[in-house]
């Protein structure tokens, strides 16, 4: 086992590799005879490729092959009828601008890049629409049900309430933009053995997709993905560019590496879909909610449907007998979206948590007091008690830390020269998932423990959390524990998504450690040793170099009896410049209510990261399309503004840190999503409190503040 320099047991177990440059991401593996793929993309938005001239590219120096629908590199599932509409290199149809239509493979990256510029396509263009808001308001545009309608009590009860508000909220397309560019190294070897180095949130999912498309046995496919440079949801599926690279490797019988460009990150690997939402709220004069209606339109693509949980929160987050929701998806001629951190729940929470603030204002109530007054005793949607919920305590902690008592209910009350200050609050909530995973534990007589599972770490610190669980249970120092992941040959685990990894894989780690402990105790008893003997002594006495246990773990019946959620409360203090409309976030306090905190340092970082993502969603991020051409116009880091260091103020993170008695053996619930869900509404609510201006369209840029009177 390699020497580590963990000064603090809560330090990240792989930190040493990350700070020294030794952490290897997918594109950094050296394979003999490695070649480079570069994609050629469509320059129209909709239509057909009528010709593709690859002659010049094929003759360019170093070029090995040019792949396209003209030569249809072998992919058995694509040769059959049916399946996805967008079969890369098997269709001449163009579904969106920037769709990959060919790949040049050459012996250097520069040669492939140059040759790709020589491929010339002609097209038969068709009319298209990339404008989601236009499609929403066009009665003739195609619309699909995204989720069954939900109704509890009287429909649209808010309309007849003593106090009512109705408002419309708009979210633009957001793009995940992890720092690491997407791509893959594919090595199709003799006898249909496939080795890939992937950027994926699920090595088993990637393995399964490859098996399906290429019709080869799953055991022929090895997927490696030890370090992943961020995902935020975009690596939850195997994209066509990855399939294309595997096709290419099979075709040229050499390993092929593809790393897409930052511009291509906007078109090929999904986005948070744009949304238009209407919220209607009704309350009596005492401030009790009497009706909630949440109706949402979400963007999807024409060639593949995408839906998410935009209207989920309205069904259970507030005590209210009359609730109805509707979620409709509207296809446009863009690449298919995918879950982006917080996913649909973050989209929905911006609208709902803004509306709650609007209602509190209409009632002339403190929005915190209004939320407390409507805090649900049980989950009315599922008609079950919550397994664990400490929202009132979270309100108390957070409001104290942000200085909520300084807040004035009348907007625009806190003025300091040209700056106006305001405070905002919001709730985030996400289903506390737990799936099924297997972990293998190998306890060795040299005092070390190796744990293995085909899970992933896109950044939250999976290995660190798992190591801490095992260390605590077995009393082994964490520098003697190694958690191996990102390898499809390890015991199966689900993809890293939906804030479920710690709950799911951690439970299996727990079960493995408990089993190892009892095996050691049995061995000790059988060899007349004290039950408390050190496992090293027990193994040595029994002449065992190691013992192994594999356990599969999944949730039991408790999920039928309780409603399980993670919660977060975000407090934000902003200042808004009266003349320029610039919003500066002054202070952030996020409180996490997600059961036991297993790994305090990485948990805090996850909450901090969610807040930073929330600042981007609230104030800066928007993928802008020129609808005349169907192209993104700010598809780079200079024009698509993710928050930079100077945008971020002090961030305080607090945890309730009480075990959820029912979720899993650790009592720990996921945090990745709740770190971001609701955050953008807290900012919008703070901006309103500072200025009296209610911005219902994200991002809250200065022009919107100046335009609103």
């Amino acid at each position: 086992m390699e020497k580590r320099v963990l000064k603090d047991e809560n330090d990240r177990v792989d930190g040493i590799y990350k700070v020294t440059g030794k952490a290897k991401y997918f594109a950094e593996y050296e394979l003999p005879g490695l070649t480079y793929g570069v994609l050629v993309t469509s320059t129209i938005t909709k239509g057909k490729i009528t010709s593709l001239d690859t002659k010049a590219a094929e003759k360019a120096p170093g070029v090995i092959s040019v792949l396209s629908h003209l030569n249809k590199p072998s992919a058995p599932a694509y040769e059959q009828e049916g399946g996805p509409a967008m079969k890369i290199f098997y269709t001449d149809k163009v579904f969106y601008n920037g769709q990959p239509i060919a790949m040049v493979v050459a012996n250097t990256f520069e040669r492939a890049t140059y040759a790709a510029s020589l491929v010339k396509a002609t097209y038969a263009k068709e009319d298209f629409n990339t404008d989601f808001e236009k499609a929403v308001s066009d009665a003739k545009a195609k619309k699909l049900q995204g989720q069954p309608d939900y109704k509890r009590g009287v429909e649209d009860a808010y309309k007849s309430a003593e106090v009512m508000i109705e408002a419309k909220y708009h979210l633009p397309i957001e793009t995940h933009n992890p720092m690491e560019l997407h791509g893959i190294i594919a090595d199709w070897r003799p006898n249909n053995q496939v080795m890939v180095y992937a950027k994926t949130q699920g090595v088993k999912a990637t393995q399964g997709t490859i098996a399906n498309v290429f019709k080869i046995p799953i055991e022929n496919i090895q997927v490696n993905s030890e370090f992943v440079g961020g995902g935020f949801g975009m690596a939850l599926r195997t994209w066509s560019l990855e399939i294309a690279t595997i096709m290419a490797s099979k075709h040229v019988a050499k390993p092929v590496k593809l790393v897409i460009t930052r511009m291509q990150m906007f078109t090929m690997v999904g986005n948070r879909p744009a949304a238009v939402q209407t919220i209607g709220l009704g309350a009596n004069k005492d401030g009790k909610l009497t009706g909630i209606t949440h109706s949402a339109f979400g963007e999807t693509s024409v060639y593949e449907n995408f839906t998410e949980g935009v209207v989920n929160m309205a069904k259970f987050m507030y005590q209210c007998d009359n609730v109805n929701t509707r979620y409709t998806v509207v296809p446009v001629d863009l690449g298919v979206p995918i879950w982006m951190r917080g996913p649909g729940e973050a989209t929905g929470a911006f609208a709902l948590e803004s509306a709650i603030d609007e209602m509190a204002h209409a009632l002339d109530m403190d929005p915190l007091e209004f939320r407390i007054k409507n805090d649900p005793e049980k989950d009315q949607q599922r008609n079950k008690p919550f397994s664990d919920k400490n929202i009132k305590e979270a309100y108390r902690i957070g409001s104290g830390k942000i200085g909520w008592s300084e807040r004035k209910n009348k907007p625009g009350s806190l003025v300091n020269g040209q700056w106006k200050s305001g405070y905002g609050v919001s709730i985030g909530v996400f289903n506390a998932n737990r799936g099924r995973a297997s972990v293998k534990g190998i306890l060795k007589a040299d005092g070390t423990l190796v744990l293995q599972s085909a899970t992933s770490d896109i950044g939250p610190g999976t290995g660190t959390g798992m190591t801490l669980i095992a260390s605590k249970l077995l009393g082994i120092p964490n520098d003697k524990i190694k958690f191996e992941l990102g390898d499809s040959s390890l015991p199966p685990a689900p993809s890293q998504g939906g804030s479920a990894t710690l709950s799911t894989v951690g439970s299996a780690v727990n079960d493995v450690c408990v089993a190892l402990k009892s095996t050691i105790a049995e061995l000790a008893a059988n060899s007349n040793m004290d039950a408390t003997s050190n496992f090293i002594d027990v193994l040595k006495k029994n002449n065992l170099p190691s013992i192994e246990v594999t356990k599969q773990s999944q949730a039991g019946k408790e999920r039928e009896d309780y409603s399980m959620y993670s919660f977060s409360i975000h407090f934000v203090k902003v200042k808004v410049h009266s003349l320029t409309g610039v919003v500066k976030v002054d202070k952030i306090v996020s409180v996490g209510d997600s059961g036991t905190i297993v790994s305090p340092k990485t948990a805090r970082s996850q909450m901090v990261g969610g807040a930073v993502g929330g600042v981007g969603m609230a104030l800066t991020e928007e993928s802008i399309i020129d609808h005349r051409y169907g192209r993104y116009i700010n598809n780079n880091f200079a024009d698509y503004h993710v928050p930079v260091n100077a945008d971020i103020p002090e961030i305080e993170v607090h945890f309730i840190n009480k075990p959820d008695p029912y979720i899993n053996p650790m009592g720990a619930k996921g945090m990745g999503e709740i770190a971001l869900i609701g955050f953008s509404a807290a900012v919008a609510n703070a901006v309103f409190n500072a200025t009296g201006k209610r911005i219902r369209t994200l991002p809250i840029t200065p022009d919107k503040i100046l335009a609103t009177s």
Binding site: V5, K7, A23, A27, A646
Partner: protein, 207 residues
């Protein structure tokens, strides 16, 4: 040679020009070798000779003497040729800072620098920052303050942070944030990164 000359047309001038010129030169020098090479269809290797230019530079105190196509960026040279993959590609446009290295002690986006522009220069990458097994104080501080999550921007952040301290832009948290804003972290570890830099700058370590 003959057959490929006949085929040449305006669509593939660059390669054929190089091929012809390389062979003309080669014929003048050592005709038999060149002709044999052409027969064996290794004209590509000749083309390469003429597309590459010599380069001498030092990376992490190790001297490299090579020849390289002028269009290769310093970033791609480090990653693809030297396999020093600690330096990351995040945008290839000088907008994210993931590729930050030190060139003669100054922080530079290596994706905006062609390798051949660095003739005679001293490059330090993340792999050259530690003193053997002993981490640079900034590396240790990043671990202590958890100045990362996924780790992809981290080498660039650390190289930039070391330079930031050396430049003296650490008089306040706000100043640090300003001078570290060329390095994007999508996981959002900014406050932790500032904590790490504050600690190192207070420790007086300007290595």
């Amino acid at each position: 040679m003959q057959s490929s000359d006949k085929e040449s047309n305006q669509g593939d001038t660059r390669r054929d020009f190089l091929k012809k010129s390389s062979l003309i030169t080669a014929v003048a020098l050592t005709p038999s070798v060149a002709l044999k090479a052409a027969e064996n269809q290794v004209d590509e290797r000749f083309a390469e000779l003429f597309e590459k230019i010599p380069l001498n530079l030092t990376v992490n105190n190790k001297a490299y003497k090579t020849s390289i196509e002028p269009r290769v960026t310093l970033l791609d040279y480090l990653r693809e040729e030297l396999h020093l993959t600690g330096t990351k590609k995040g945008c290839d446009h000088g907008q994210c800072g993931a590729c930050t290295v030190h060139v003669d002690g100054e922080r530079v986006n290596s994706c905006l620098s062609l390798a051949v522009m660095n003739e005679g220069k001293k490059i330090t990458t993340i792999e050259g920052l530690a003193n053997g097994e002993e981490l640079h104080p900034m590396q240790a501080a990043f671990i202590k303050h958890d100045g990362f999550q996924c780790g992809y921007c981290t080498p660039g952040q650390i190289m930039s942070a070391v330079a930031c301290v050396k430049e003296g832009h650490t008089n306040s948290r706000a100043e640090i944030s300003e001078y570290m804003s060329g390095n994007i972290c999508r996981c959002g570890a900014y406050p932790n990164i500032v904590d790490a830099i504050v600690e190192v700058s207070k420790g007086g370590n300007k290595a």
